[in-house]
């Protein structure tokens, strides 16, 4: 239902930020984002709005669980 993709923050400018994915850029609104951002953060973008910041530590932790539980080495 809700197409949203992680995009990397390139520039922050008040209520908007420039974000990119694989070299394609767009400006997104930050009106509903609860966190403060830094360049290099990833945000989940839906309909031109950043919904939330992606938690890199959590992503790593989830993958680590797989590596241990399934005995798989990920890159």
């Amino acid at each position: 239902m809700c197409l949203a993709v992680p995009m990397e923050v390139v520039k922050i400018d008040g209520k908007t930020a420039e974000v990119q994915i694989a070299g394609t850029y767009q400006n997104v609104r930050l009106d509903v984002l609860p966190e403060t951002l830094e360049v290099g953060d990833f945000v989940i973008v839906h309909a031109g709005f950043a919904l939330t910041r992606l938690d890199r530590e959590e992503a790593i932790a989830t993958l680590k669980l797989f590596e241990e539980g399934l005995n798989i080495a990920l890159t």
């Binding site: 992680p6 009106d31 509903v32 989940i44 919904l51 938690d55 989830t62 399934l70």
Partner: protein
């Protein structure tokens, strides 16, 4: 980010699939209630790799599909007036009661523009002060905050020619209505990751507590989906029933309070009509009185009119997991993506449309 590519890793998927299939006892009938899950499960090929014992059911998870006939009729009424309609592309081919669509209205001279973001619609209003610009507000909790924020910005910037026709829907009340049906044949719920990023975990607790149904909040990559299925299997094995947040890189247990408060400032819950299901109490959002100047219903004096139910359509049963899409007598014959009859065939994310489009 390379890190995120791991959530598509074929080797990891294979390992998870093996675990699911070897550890599963009996049948697992799981339902997702998110069109993005529907499409991801088909498109990634996950569905074709699941054994017969793992049954994938698509619930009412596509906001376009569940937009009621009478609501579509209101869009189309508005298209006939002196207004510029701005919309997400999703709504362009949705048929109204007499099978008319926004595409058709456009051909008849209506001014309809597809935008990517509600903010682009606001910009069109600002660039064309002589036009009344209306944005068609559809979507679940993921989308509603963006539209609320746009309405707030319109007020702050003193824009007077912009309004929203608001037919948002809320996920938890629909789930509640669904599980209240004694005929529902679902054993576990795959919960929508991006809705959950806004509302958090709490609103789903009743599934486990009241109905004894396990549920997992999951992301949209194949690994996310298979992880959720494996969690169902594990919970069953351990005899526990819980609502688990497995999409922790995006969803915090408390959701997004800022988005919730923006949404709450502009919208208030209201009863809403769901295509294929009917009226569900407190499952919609209406524009609050303070923002009446931005409510297209009030600005244009629109009302929802009664429309007859669709004859022969079994979408209601499909949405409840009672019927597989291809078992509906209309499927692929009277009802196709080109000429959809019921809600499940309307959008590419509808369960019947996805089945039609992707099932080999």
């Amino acid at each position: 980010m390379r890190l995120l590519d791991n959530f598509k890793d074929p080797q990891l998927c294979k390992a998870l699939l093996e675990r699911i299939h070897s550890e599963l006892d009996g049948e697992l009938r799981f339902m997702e209630v998110c069109g993005t899950h529907t499409v991801s499960i088909f498109r990634s090929g996950v569905r074709s790799l699941l054994s017969d014992k793992v049954v994938h059911l698509s619930g009412p998870g596509c906001p376009v599909c569940v937009t009621h006939d009478s609501e579509v009729a209101a869009f189309l009424d508005l298209a006939g007036r002196d207004a510029v309609i701005t919309t997400f592309g999703d709504l362009m081919r949705v048929p109204g009661p007499d099978r008319k669509t926004l595409k058709g209205a456009q051909a008849e001279g209506a001014r309809v523009k597809v935008v990517y973001s509600p903010f682009d619609a606001l910009k069109i209003a600002q660039d064309n002060p002589g036009d009344k610009v209306v944005f068609l507000g559809v979507g679940f909790e993921t989308t509603a905050p963006a539209i609320a924020a746009t309405v707030k910005a319109a007020r702050e910037e003193g824009v007077t020619n912009f309004s929203v026709l608001c037919f948002h829907k809320l996920v938890p009340p629909a789930l509640e209505a669904l599980v209240g049906d004694p005929e529902l044949r679902v054993q576990a719920f795959l919960l929508p990751g991006h809705v959950s990023a806004i509302i958090g975990v709490e609103p789903y607790r009743f599934l486990a507590r009241k109905h004894g149904l396990p549920a997992v909040i999951a992301g949209f990559e194949p690994v996310d989906i298979l992880q959720a299925l494996h969690l169902f299997v594990t919970m069953r094995k351990q005899g526990c029933v819980d609502v688990v947040n497995a999409y922790t890189r995006v969803v915090s247990d408390t959701g997004n309070p800022k988005a919730m408060s923006v949404m709450d400032e502009v919208f208030a819950p209201c009863d809403a009509l769901w295509r294929g299901i009917g009226m569900i109490p407190n499952s919609g959002l209406a524009v609050r009185e303070e923002f009446a100047a931005f409510d297209a219903m009030r600005v244009f004096g629109l009302t929802l009119r009664d429309v007859p139910a669709i004859k022969g359509c079994r979408c209601g049963d499909v949405l409840k997991g009672k019927l597989s899409p291809n078992k509906c007598p209309l499927f692929g014959k009277a009802c196709t993506p080109a000429a959809p009859v019921g809600p499940c065939m309307v959008s590419t994310e509808g369960s019947c449309a996805a089945y039609y489009k992707y099932h080999v």
